[in-house]
Amino acid sequence: MSGPSHREGAIGLVRANLRRDRIRIGVWIAGITAMVGVSAQSVKALFPTQADLDAAAASSDNPAIVAFQGPPYGLDTVGGQIAFQIGAPGLVLVGLMALLQTGRLTRTEEEAGRLELVRSLPVGRHAPTLAAGVVVGAMCLAVGVLTAGALVVLGLPTAGSVCFGLGYTAVGAVFMAVTLVTAQMSENPRVANGVAGLVLGASFILRAIGDAGDNALSWLSPIGWSQQTRPFADERWWPFLISFGVTAVLFVAATKLEDHRDLGAGLVAPKAGADRAAPRFASPFALALRLQRGSVAAWAGGTAALALVYGGLTSAIESFIDDNPQLEDFFTQSGGDIGDITSSYLATSAQVTALIGSGYVIQSVLRLRSEETRERTEPVLATATSRWRYWLGHLAVAVGGAVAVLVLSGVVLGASAAAVMGDGALLGDGFAAVLAYLPAVLVMAGVPALVVGVVPKFSVAAWAMLMVTFVVSFFGTLLDLPGWVLGISPFDHVAAVPVETLSAASVAGLTAVAAALLGVGAVAYRRRDIPA
């Protein structure tokens, strides 16, 4: 069923894809390479002597940090520290790049009907899948080669640099293939990207548990496979066989699945639905809720799962500190007592949770724009629905959903920490740690609201805010960024509850900024052309 004729036209499609997405592709590759290069340079600067490295190695090798970063290999070398500090977030980013770009080139094209036009040309059934694989595979390769090159230029060992870069390529390849498979399942591109995103999230969680524990679960994670190659720490190359083997198997599976479905259809046939709308399905809010409830549930579920894992690992840090009393100083250098270790761990977990909540709220607010570009806004506004009510309906779902994500993950983080520690007070601590980020997450809702209102054509730029916050949160100190850059991130103004106490001024300040962004966004949305 998969003869050469089914692949015909793939080369032309590769060219078309590259031409169409050249900027997007370039930004991904350059961005990730630059991030690795700059971070690596910072790590070098951070540990000028072997004594510094030894101290860092002693302090980094604990389950809590490991759960966030990855397995601790060769931490007493600059390369090992680089792989440890920027490995995991970078691997997630590369996975995300591969996932989003693959979804974009496959199911999104198919749903839009453009693939039908393409397939009416002398283009084989598997050509679009193959072309997407080639383009995304080349992106992953470019990321790997360039990051490896950057590390070599910075004077790091060649073998380790290549291993590190290949690790990025491998994780990207796996998630490219995963998305090619999920793209076959449903005719809805959101499902394709969403399921692939769940796999990415699960990969991160599995390796977090595995790395903090006995490593076993790490071997179920594509992120883990790359990390287990131990770049800069006596590299081993065979885990790449797993990554690329799985990629090949998934790729073949995708083409097999493609043989068994019609163009435009999924493998799961859609069911007949209601012939009448439920009585309360009669407002812009009800519409927005209906459109996004699945997405709210998925984000809340995913975030809660992560919170459960992090909460559950709380006991591991405590016992680790007990075994290594010399580390107490490291964790309590701010002058706190041993209780602060759990607290600062909870605060860090809360930050990760809030970052994911921010991702939800940005994509949810941007739904306002995607509805508009898909020409679904006009029919609603042509009814007796004011723009204000329409806008408010969408924003209510976005903000309400963000509150739900934070509350749920706060409760889960606190409850799981309390359960493993047998200390009921941690429930409140965990909950408060996450909820402290609510005003900052509201700012995160305000940014896309402002952009959609004022410069709708550049709505996608709202994601830059998340990237900035991500970089500041994870690489801020590493990159030695100036204070004003750190200040752009709303998270930088949030008190690290329960280590610090909530500052009324920062809550009020962030809330005021959020209100201003939302207000200007709403007014602009009411005054502009639709569609714009």
């Binding site: 007949a272 639905g273 709308a277 407002s283 029919p379 042509a382 007796a384 502009r528």
Partner: protein, 305 residues
Amino acid sequence: MDEMAIEVEGLVKQFGSFRALDGLDLHVRRGEVHGFLGPNGSGKSTTIRVLLGMLRHDGGTVRLLGGDPWADAVELHRRLAYVPGDVNLWPKLTGGEIIDLLGRLRGDLDEARRGELIDRFELDPTKKARTYSKGNRQKVGLVAALASRTELLVLDEPTSGLDPLMESVFQECIKEAVDEGRTVLLSSHILAEVEALCERVSIIRAGRTVESGTLDDLRRTSHTSVSVRTERDVDVADVDGVRDVRTEHGHLRFEVDNARLPAALDVLTAGGVLSLTCSPPTLEELFLRHYDEPGTAPDGDDLQP
């Protein structure tokens, strides 16, 4: 009550440096079906979006049902129903749910009529919108709009993608709407539909109205095709308003503006007429004249793609 449902004078809409509407006029009387015609990209949908308060206009005046479409959008929208040319639906909602939602948001959904229209258009309201064909999506939009009792229907190429059977159901529905005294603005490329439904039409090109009136008026002010045999050779080419002079199968054929027809006939009579056929322009010729001829648009612009 105002005699006019829609009054547009000198409407201007600018998108950056592109002037989409350039002094457009449109007058729709209450109770009539008004055809709104023009080539692709001539500004029909832009005009309709201004009428719906989606776009702000940069010049001219616009009145819709006696109100300002931008400022009074919500109040006016209770009194109108709209069908876009490309009905885009939420993929995971069913057709039935969408019809209910839009009707409820308008505040005007006639239950009996809803059921009747679903039957007449043979629409399956239980299917998810994702699975509807173009024609079926269009039916959802039509049922949602026609199931109302609003005084104005704004239809932007509403029948694109419908099969001929459904096209005739649509025409019946519009005739019924007019019998109830409703007003219809119908943008369309389907000339048979326009001829069957519209009393008056406005033809626009490059953002301007080039012709407006009843179809009879348009025919009158247009041209006549003449085919004639005469005893002696005649020279009609010099007569003002005569075009396309040629000889086919021994017949002299030409087109002449209706206003100049007497002058042309004088020349023919002088030559001794053996046989003479005069035919009014077909609707198609009427439209093609406006769509095609560069000289028709005041600025002679080419069509916008």
